[in-house]
Symmetry: C2
Subunit: 337 residues, 2 copies
C-alpha cells in the first residue's frame, strides 16, 4: 500500500544540461521553435529525443493557470446518444487546441458530484455536462469559476450556457404524427426531471390539448434507460387500460418498451404504435426500425464546445441558450390504430 512517488522522468533541466543551454531555451524550443537559433534548436531537440523527454503538462498548467482541457461529464456511457455528442465534443475541442477528458456520472447524483469536483480540482478550463440530472442552482454555484455548458437541457440561467434540441417541438411532432394516423389514446412514458424529459412531456401535453385530447393524457414514470422503458410499459400493460400508442422519452427506453410489448405477445404497430426520441443508430436497425425524433448529435457536441470557447477565448460573459430544431423520422413502429 506504499504510495510513494512514481519513477522520475527527465525534466527540462535534464535536457538543458545535456544540450548545454539554459532551461529557458529548452522551454522556448518546445513552445516556439522558430524563435530559436538554428543550431541550438537542433541540439536541444536531439537532447530531448535522447532522454525521452516529455513535457510535463502539470507544471505547465500550474504556471499558465490553464490546462487546455475541457472536462465532459457523461451521465451514462451506455447511451449511444451521448457517445455521438461526445464525438462532436472531442472533435471540436481538438480542432481548437483543447483536449476533452470524459468522466462518467453513472446516472448517480452522488457519483456525478464527485466527478465534477474532480474536474474542478483538476482545473479543467471548461465543462460540458451531458445528460446531467443536477439542479441548475447547483450547477450555477460552480459555473462562476469556469465556463459550463449543459447539453440537452434547457435552463433560464444567466450563468450557465445550454444547448439542446427543441424537445417540446419534437414531442409535438411525434404526437401530431400519431394523431394523424388516427390515434387518440396516446400514453407518454417520461423520465422524471432527467435530461430533456420535462420539455418532452410538456410538448406531449400541449399537442394532446391542441388536438382536444386532454382527457387521454396519460403519463407513466419511467427513465432514460432500457429497464426504465420496460418497467413503465409493463405497468401500462398490466393496468388493463392499454393505449393504442406510446411515446417513449428516448430510443433506449422505447427499446425497453418494445421488449415488454413483444413479451406480452402484442404486435407493433398492430396493437400498439411506438415512438422513441433520439434517432440512434440502433433505431435504424431493420429489426428495430423505430419511429423516432431525430437530433443532430455530433453537431450538438461541436456547438457545445463552441459555447465554452466563446467564453474562454472570446470573453463572452452573458449566457447563451441555443436551441436546435429536431425532425421526425417515421419508420415501421407506427401505424393506424
Amino acid at each position: 500500500m506504499s504510495r510513494e512517488k512514481l519513477s522520475k522522468q527527465p525534466t527540462i533541466l535534464d535536457v538543458a544540461a545535456r544540450a548545454g543551454v539554459s532551461k529557458s531555451l529548452v522551454s522556448l524550443v518546445m513552445r516556439d521553435p522558430d524563435r530559436v537559433g538554428e543550431s541550438s534548436r537542433a541540439t536541444v531537440l536531439a537532447a530531448a529525443v535522447e532522454l525521452g523527454y516529455r513535457p510535463n503538462a502539470v507544471a505547465r498548467s500550474l504556471v499558465q493557470r490553464r490546462t487546455n482541457v475541457i472536462g465532459v461529464i457523461v451521465a451514462d456511457l451506455h447511451n449511444p446518444f451521448f457517445a455521438d455528442v461526445a464525438d462532436g465534443i472531442e472533435d471540436a475541442a481538438f480542432q481548437s487546441g483543447y483536449r476533452a477528458m470524459l468522466s462518467s456520472g453513472f446516472l448517480d447524483p452522488k457519483r456525478e458530484r464527485g466527478a465534477i469536483e474532480t474536474m474542478l480540482e483538476l482545473r479543467v478550463d471548461g465543462l460540458v455536462m451531458l445528460g446531467s440530472m443536477m439542479q441548475v442552482a447547483k450547477i450555477e454555484r460552480f459555473a462562476a469559476s469556469l465556463p459550463v455548458t449543459v447539453v440537452g437541457r434547457h435552463t433560464r440561467s444567466t450563468v450557465v450556457d445550454s444547448i439542446g434540441v427543441d424537445n417540446s417541438a419534437g414531442a409535438q411532432e411525434a404526437v401530431d404524427h400519431l394523431v394523424a394516423l388516427g390515434h387518440t389514446r396516446i400514453a407518454h412514458i417520461h423520465a422524471g426531471t432527467a435530461g430533456g424529459s420535462p420539455r418532452r412531456r410538456r410538448g406531449y401535453e400541449k399537442a394532446m390539448r391542441r388536438h382536444g385530447l386532454e382527457d387521454h393524457i396519460r403519463l407513466v414514470k419511467g427513465a432514460f434507460t432500457e429497464a426504465g422503458g420496460t418497467t413503465a410499459m409493463n405497468e401500462i400493460l398490466e393496468s388493463g387500460d392499454v393505449p393504442t400508442a406510446v411515446f417513449a422519452p428516448n430510443d433506449v427506453a422505447a427499446i425497453g418498451a418494445m421488449e415488454a410489448i413483444d413479451a406480452a405477445g402484442l404486435a407493433i404497430p398492430g396493437d400498439i404504435s411506438l415512438v422513441g426520441y433520439d434517432n440512434l443508430a440502433l433505431a435504424a436497425l431493420r429489426r428495430i426500425d423505430l419511429t423516432t425524433v431525430g437530433q443532430p448529435r455530433v453537431d450538438l457536441g461541436r456547438k457545445a464546445v463552441g459555447l465554452v470557447l466563446e467564453r474562454l477565448d472570446e470573453g463572452r460573459e452573458r449566457a447563451r441558450h441555443v436551441v436546435i430544431p429536431p425532425h421526425l423520422v417515421v419508420r415501421s413502429t407506427t401505424g393506424p390504430p
Copy 2:
C-alpha cells in the same frame, strides 16, 4: 482569440490569511483534519467555505509527482462493450482512491496516439487501453514510464500487462456449437488485427480443423463495427457461394451482418445461422436475440485497474497476462442448417 489566464480562484494562502494561520496548517486541515487542533480546524474550515476554496489538484500533483488519475483510452465510445468495461474501470479506480479519465481513440491510430500523448503529458499514474489497435512495440515504448494494461488483447510483452478473455476458446465454442447443429459450411468475418480478432480467427480455424472441416474454412475481412459486418456479409451474399452459418467477430458486426441478411430477404437461422461475440445487452433484445459468446465485461474493467494498482501500490515489476474464460450464450439466431 486572446488566451489569457483564467479567473483567479482562492488559494491556500488566501484561506490561511483569512483564518490567521499558516498555509501549512491549512494544507494539513485539508489532508488530515484529525492531526489539527479542534479550534484551528474549525476556523480554517470556515474560512475555506467562506472563500469557496477548492484544492488545486494541479499544484498538488506537481509536488507529489502523482495525479491519482488513471487514464483510459477507449477506441470507440459507441461500442457498448467498452462502456461496460469502462464502468468497471471507473468503479474500481474510485474504490481505490483514484479517478478515471476517459479519452476516445476514435478508431484512428493518429488520433489515438494524440490521446495517449496527452495522457502522458498530464502525467496520469496509470493507463488502461480499451480495444487499442496500436502495435505492442509502440505501447511498450511508453509503458516504461507508467503502468499500462491492455484490455481485450493478448500480448507476450514483459512490460505491458494485459487482460482479456480467451478469444480462441470462445471462438472454438461458437464453432463447436454450430457443428453440433449440423453445419459444415461456416464462414468467419474477422476484423483484421483489431482487438481480439486474430485470436478469434485462430480459434475458428483450429475448431474447423479439429472437426475435419479445413476445406470449409472461409475468412472474410470485416471490422468491429456495424458497417464492417454489413459490408462483409454483403460480400459473402454476393459471392454466390453462401454458407449455412456465419461467425462474426463481435456483436456489433453481427448486427451489421444481420441487417445484410435481412435486406437480402434471407431468414435467420432458417437460411443462415449467425453467431456474435461479446454478449452485449443489445444481443439479448428480443428483436435481436443473438447467439453469442459472453465475456464478464465489468469484471474485466475492474481487474484491469487491479493490474495497474498492483504496480502502482504494491510495486509489482513483472508483467502479468490474465485470461478469463468466456461462455457461449445460445439464443435464436442459430439452428440446424
